[in-house]
Each structure stands twice: as structure tokens, then as C-alpha cells.
Symmetry: C2
Subunit: 464 residues, 2 copies
């Protein structure tokens, strides 16, 4: 995008930036730039510099510096996003929080953790658990993605049905605003009704409104026990109906995961040590709580599944066997990737009554466009990962995939569903943004963006 | 505030407004104006007209009309707020949603309810329950306050420890913006990551950013059983320590309520049919879930309470006996009001580790300022209702109470707590707003307000 001239001017600002910060904070190494130009999706764009601040003051200094010079800044957590949300499409600075990765505090009495944004989510969950506490949000990437990235995308996961998503666990934030001002919003308390809910405004804002430098997270007591029940069905419709039966029976499982035939077959074919009951559709149900409660509810779930027509039900009551069933579930994505195809991983969400419709629509879509589609995900939330498997070397197939996505999204929106349940808009869903959100609501987004970042310096080129 | 001249000009607009709407929507009756000039707090201010729209189009017409003429509009739910949040301090129009009170839909399969803002919260909870579903937010006023008011204040209640507050159950909103534009934000799905979290921005915005005309709420399966365990302690410190023991044991009760000696004594003195174990401090714990789980957890709670030094423990395992214990708890506020004193009901929230400190501070405050103070509330959230009991006829005593509140709030903020956990700022806490929120964060509030309501027409005279 830049001419050679502006680029050599910019070399000047990089030199200045290096002087502003302690040694080693700025990199312009081609490999570092390349690594920080993409995420887990397809898009790439090179930044001109990558900065690795270690303190909030350094983040503030970088933002002020960039603000004064009209240099775009794109914040980045662990770079595990699925929609290109942290791809620096306008170049400038990528601000990586990878080295702001300390858990500052876990306080069981207050029921909070205070963390820097680069902390890997799974690590926080582990540390909390050692103290008997629970940080429930569990995106499938939890061992790779960071709290900062989870906050930017309001990450969900399998446990949201019972426990909610990231925003339900963020009590307070330290944020650096576009021009470098450091603010604290929210608090350390479990309830707070002081003013507007600015915490929720920053959570899920995909790096467009500020850079989070610290988060105070809510922890809850860790449930003492859990059970996982896996079931195989002859058809996805039966599995989806079982979901409804479970929820109308007064049970609130901590997870309710569904997978279609394509997914299950890929798992059987590509994974070793796979733990899957027979059948063309797969349901995995987790219940947690006290030991007797788990026994009671787990048996109830098994019974409901059998009554709903499961051809096989497998129950796990110990940590090891639970993890074995989960491990298969968590490997679905990997199994699909083994096929050597490009996996376009969408995360549409529909009102729960449309689950069966969605699976039927998807299988018809696959047939009509000649593109294999694997669908699995969080049935309890209506949040299904629809994976189009595309040959990366066939441009024509990629074009067809785009048109299939057009149809998928139009139908999902038509049902009152949404494009994205937990990944965000980023670049991947940018072209459907106007279809998904009415003009007056897009205008509210623009007004809020202008209010907080009038020069549009934070993560430019995205949905606002 | 108005001169006679502007007032007679305004009489003109009221006439126009009446013509704009179906017959009977506008009232200028002195009694109606008076009734709509106050809430459950002290402040009063007369509106010039009260409008009772029945549809979103009527709400939009009123807002557009007012916007074009610079007439302030203050939206009002059931008028049960505790902070004067809906008091029309700049006059103009009070827009009451009292007649927009239909439950449009309860859909167990989708797990949603669609309601108009005037629906009384307790009524929605009852209707959902009849279908086996649960709307958990339960402010003490739930049988009088409306969903619209609950949304404006992000109402909490006793169940937030396990189930969260109002915002955790709002999936989508229809909102009329200041200038009359009708928008829909959020969706009917249980997960949604499309753009900024505008739903959470409107929830808790105390009528400053828009008027909610419809809400899509999340319902969850109703837990099949519950138990309530009430305990008496010799000292509040012991009761507070028991709270900690319960939470560190892996239990997550659906409620964990605490009350001090003053409150307990008022209940014993003024209530008939009181169900309170002996002791100077009271703890009420509710657990819910499957029948066996409830039995298991309820017994565990009793045991922990006895180990923590409870002098008496009373357990209720049936609906009737549970309700009897709750009924006493819900009457604490009424018992205090029986004394004929003015009850200044604050809802400070502290990090949980400060619970004992808070109770000690409050009793010292009462002694030092010679003002009786009763403290009780949601121990699990650190959200305690501190009630200063003031003689309404003694101006000097009222002044002392204000100074005692100054000290209370300064200390709570010093501990990292907040002025308000669930009531909001309104007018009651306006003078402490600058102390509670830093200037840059207040500036963000102003910027957002200007972005959505540049003329400041919605609920003017409040915290932004």
C-alpha cells in the first residue's frame, strides 16, 4: 500500500520508537513481521514493526507515539483467532502482549484472578483449579490462546450453556485508550452498577476501542466432580431431538456437544486412540457438581439419551475417562485438518429450535455446491461450527465455497441466527457485516468508535 | 426551573403531543404528574406530562416529537428504583412503559422469553416456571418492579452469586434512540459475537442512552429442587467466616444472605410469623439442583455452618418451608421501615475479603454518628445493604447521615469496593460519582452519551 518513499520515512519513526522503549522491545525482523501478520485464518498483511511491551506504561507510550504520528496500531494476543481479527491490514505497529503474561494474583476469598493479557487461558484455569477455584470459559484453543485475545473476541467454548462466556467473568479491566490514556473500568467486586457497563463494551470489541493491559476475572468454586456421557445416534435429527429432551427435563449440563456424520467419520479415520460410540451422529454431555449430584444427573442423562434413540451410550465417571472422551471431541478439528484441505471454520449460531434445520440445510448445501462440509459444536447454545473443506489449490472451488457461505449466512440470518457466536467478525466475516447488522446499528458502532478513537488508529480496516 | 412564560408555551406542545397519539395516552392530571415524579427514594420533581405509549411506534413518535422541540424525556418502568433514577429533574415528559406489559412469547425450545418492558419481573418468572423454565434475576422488588426497570439498573438480587445479574439474561433488545430511531441489538441466540456488545451498553444505562421497548431474555431449565438452610451466630464475624468456608468447600449456593444484629432484632420485634434461628447474626443459604444433589449439598452446608460456630441451624427441604425462611428474609426491609424512621438504603459492594471489615466499620459508624444502621444482604457477592435509620423530622440528623455516608463511601472505595452493586447512581449517589469514577472514565461516559444523545434529552440531570 505504501510507496517506497513513505516507507523510508517510516523507517524514521521506527528508529524513534526504539529509543522510546527499553532495549529489545521493537522488532522489524522479516520473520517476526511475517509471524505477526496473520492468525489461524487465511489473511496476511505485514506490519512495519512489532512491539513487545512489558508494562502498561510502555503500552501507553507506544499508543501515544503512534497517535501523534497517525500510525495504525493492531493489538495481538496469542494470534489464535479464526477470523483474521488481529491481522494488521493497514500496516503500522503490531502491539503484542505476549510478554505481559504474568498471573498477578489469584485470591480465592475475593473470588478473583488478576492477570496480564498475555496469560494463556488454560494456564490460568489450571492455577485457579489448584486452589479449588474455577475459571469456566474454555475455547477449544484454551491451551494456546490468551486471556487478552479471549477478551477481544468474548470467547465462548463448550461450557457456555451453563457457565456463560468470557464477558460473564470479566469484572474489571485496565485499558489503554487510542491516544494513550490509561483507564480502569469495572472493579474487583462481583457486582457493580456504577455508570455504564464499559467493561462489556471493551470485551468483544476486537481491539477497536482500546488495548487491555490487565483483567480482573471472576472465579467460582470448582465443582468437585463431573461425568461425561457420550452417545451415538443413527441420524443427526435424533441427536438434536435428544438435546431438547435433556434441556426440558430440568437438567443444565455443563456441556452439550453435537457432531455430524462427516466429523465422526473423519475422527474414526484420522485419529488414533479415538473414543467414539458407534453411530452417524455424536452427542457428548457433561454434568458437574457434587459427587452424588453428578451420579444422579449422569444416570438421568444416559436414560434420556437411550429413550431418545441412542444406539450406544458410554459414561465416564472418573477424571481420566472423562478426559478421554473430551480428548476425542477436542480432536475433531484436527481430524478434519488431516485431510489436507483448507478448513473454512464458521461459527454460526441459531435459535435452538433450528438445530435440525441447520444440519439439514448444511448437508443440502454440501451436496448442491459439491463441497464437503463437517458440522459440529455447542448444541446447547445453537452454536455450530460449520467447516467447509476446500481444496486450497483450486481457485474455482474457493469461489464456490464463498457462494455456499453466502447462502449459509443468508439462511442463518433468516432464521434469526447470527454469523458468529464466538469468533468475531474480523476480516473473515467482514463482507457479510452489512447484511447481519442494520444501518442504524452500524451507525451506533461508528459513533462509539469515533467517540473513543476519532482518528481510527486502533486495528483499522475492520468492521467499523 | 421554568418561568411562567415557557410553561405556557409548553402547554402548547402538550396539546400537539395529544394529537399525535391515540386518545388517552397523555396525562397532565396533577395526581398523575405527582405519582410519576418520584420512585422509592426521596427525590421528587414534577414532569409536565406523562405519556403511556402502547407500541414501539408510539414510543418512537414521542421521542421524535420531544427531540425536535428539545423537551426532556425520562423513561419509567414500575417506579420502584431506590436512587431516584427515573425522577424527571428537568421536567418535560415522563414516558411510562407501564402499559407495554405483555409477555409476547415464552419459547422453551429456544430457551427465550420475549417481553415488553412493563412486564413485572415476578410475573415473567412465574410464567416461565410453569413451563419448567427459570428466569433467575430476583431483585427483592421482583413482584413490583418491571423488566424495563430491571434492565435500566441491571438489577441483581439474592441469586446472583450462582446465576449472575440481569445483564447475563438479556440476549436482545429493541431500543428507541434519543431522536426516535428504532433499533434492534443482540439476537434471539444464546451466543452472539457480531460487533460491539451494545446490549450490555444499554443494560444498566439508567435511561440515559435509549428507551427499551422489547427484551429477548435467556431462560434456563428450572432446577427441580432446592433447600434453604438458616443459621444463627453469636457474632457477625462468625457468620462472615462461614460464608468463606462454604465457598472454599466447592459449593456454589444459589443464595448466601447475611444479616446483622440490628436487622435480626427489628425482624423479631416488628414481624409476626418470623422464622429466625436464635443468635445475633443470621445466615441464609440456598442450594438448588436435582433432588439428591440438593440433599447432599444442603447437609454439607449445615455441617459447615455448625463447624463454623452456628448456635442453631434450621433446614428446609420442601417448597413451603423454604418459602417461609425466605419470607422472613424478604421482610427485613419492611421490619426496618416499621420503626417509622427514614431508611437510607445503600447497596455498597466490597471485595468479599472485606465483609467482616465492612460490618465492623458500619457498627463503628453508627456509634460515632449516633445513627442506627442495619446491614444485611448478599454476602456471596460482597453486596451489603447498609440502611441508615434517620428521623425524617430532624434536619440535623439528616445532615449527620450525609456525613456518615461520606465516610462509608470513602472507606468502601478505599477497599476497592463500589458505591452501588445493583441500585445504580441515579440522584441518590450523584454527589459521590466524581469520587467513585476517575475523570478519564467519566469522560468516556460523556463521549458515549454525546454519541447517542447529543442534545442530552434522555433523563437529563443524572450522572452524565
Amino acid at each position: 500500500m505504501d510507496t517506497g518513499e513513505t516507507r523510508s520515512q517510516k523507517a524514521g519513526w521506527i528508529f524513534q520508537l526504539e529509543k522510546l522503549l527499553p532495549l529489545g522491545r521493537v522488532s522489524c525482523e522479516p520473520q517476526v513481521l511475517a509471524e505477526h501478520g496473520t492468525d489461524a485464518w487465511l489473511a496476511r498483511a505485514l506490519p512495519e514493526a512489532v512491539v513487545f511491551p512489558r508494562t502498561v506504561e510502555e503500552v501507553s507510550a507506544v499508543l501515544r507515539f503512534a497517535w501523534e504520528r497517525d500510525i495504525p496500531v493492531t493489538a495481538r494476543g496469542a494470534g489464535r483467532g479464526y477470523v483474521g481479527g488481529c491481522v494488521p491490514v493497514r500496516g503500522g505497529i503490531v502491539l503484542s502482549v505476549a510478554y505481559m503474561n504474568r498471573i498477578r494474583e489469584i485470591d480465592p476469598v475475593d473470588g478473583v484472578a488478576v492477570v496480564e493479557p498475555g496469560v494463556i487461558t488454560g494456564k490460568l484455569a489450571q492455577e485457579a483449579r489448584r486452589l479449588g477455584y474455577f475459571y469456566p470459559p474454555d475455547p477449544a484453543s484454551l491451551h494456546e490462546s490468551s486471556i487478552g485475545g479471549n477478551i477481544a473476541t468474548n470467547a465462548g467454548g463448550a461450557r457456555s450453556l451453563k457457565y456463560g462466556v468470557t464477558k460473564h467473568y470479566v469484572l474489571g479491566l485496565e485499558v489503554v485508550l487510542a491516544e494513550g490514556t490509561i483507564v480502569r473500568v469495572g472493579s474487583r467486586t462481583h457486582k457493580n452498577k456504577t455508570g455504564f457497563d464499559l467493561v462489556s463494551l471493551f470485551v468483544g470489541s476486537e481491539g477497536l476501542l482500546g488495548v487491555v493491559t490487565e483483567a480482573t476475572l471472576r472465579l467460582i468454586p470448582h465443582p468437585p466432580a463431573r461425568a461425561v456421557i457420550a452417545a451415538g445416534f443413527e441420524a443427526i435429527e435424533r441427536a438434536a431431538a435428544a438435546v431438547e429432551n435433556i434441556l426440558t427435563s430440568g437438567l443444565l449440563p455443563s456441556a452439550l456437544e453435537i457432531a455430524d456424520r462427516f466429523t465422526v467419520e473423519a475422527a474414526r479415520h484420522y485419529l488414533t486412540d479415538v473414543s467414539l460410540p458407534p453411530g452417524q451422529a455424536h452427542l457428548l454431555v457433561e454434568v458437574d457438581g457434587g459427587p452424588q449430584a453428578v451420579r444422579e444427573e449422569g444416570e438421568r442423562v444416559s436414560q434420556i439419551l437411550l429413550e431418545a434413540g441412542a444406539i450406544a451410550v458410554e459414561s465416564a465417571w472418573e477424571e481420566d475417562s472423562c478426559e478421554r472422551l473430551w480428548s476425542t471431541r477436542r480432536s475433531f478439528s484436527r481430524a478434519l485438518s488431516h485431510q489436507g484441505l483448507l478448513k473454512l471454520n464458521e461459527d454460526v449460531t441459531v435459535p435452538r429450535s433450528r438445530l435440525v434445520d441447520l444440519f439439514s440445510f448444511v448437508s443440502e448445501l454440501a451436496r448442491r455446491w459439491g463441497i464437503p462440509i463437517a458440522a459440529f459444536g455447542h448444541a446447547g447454545d445453537g452454536n455450530i461450527h460449520v467447516n467447509l473443506m476446500v481444496n486450497p489449490n483450486q481457485e474455482e472451488e474457493k469461489t464456490r465455497a464463498q457462494r455456499a457461505l453466502d447462502e449459509l449466512f443468508a439462511q442463518v440470518l433468516g432464521w434469526g441466527g447470527v454469523l458468529t457466536g464466538e469468533h468475531g467478525i474480523g476480516l473473515a466475516k467482514l463482507s457479510w457485516w452489512p447484511q447481519a447488522v442494520s444501518e442504524p446499528v452500524r451507525e451506533i458502532h461508528r459513533k462509539i468508535k469515533r467517540a473513543l478513537d476519532p482518528k481510527g488508529m486502533l486495528n483499522p480496516g475492520k468492521f467499523v
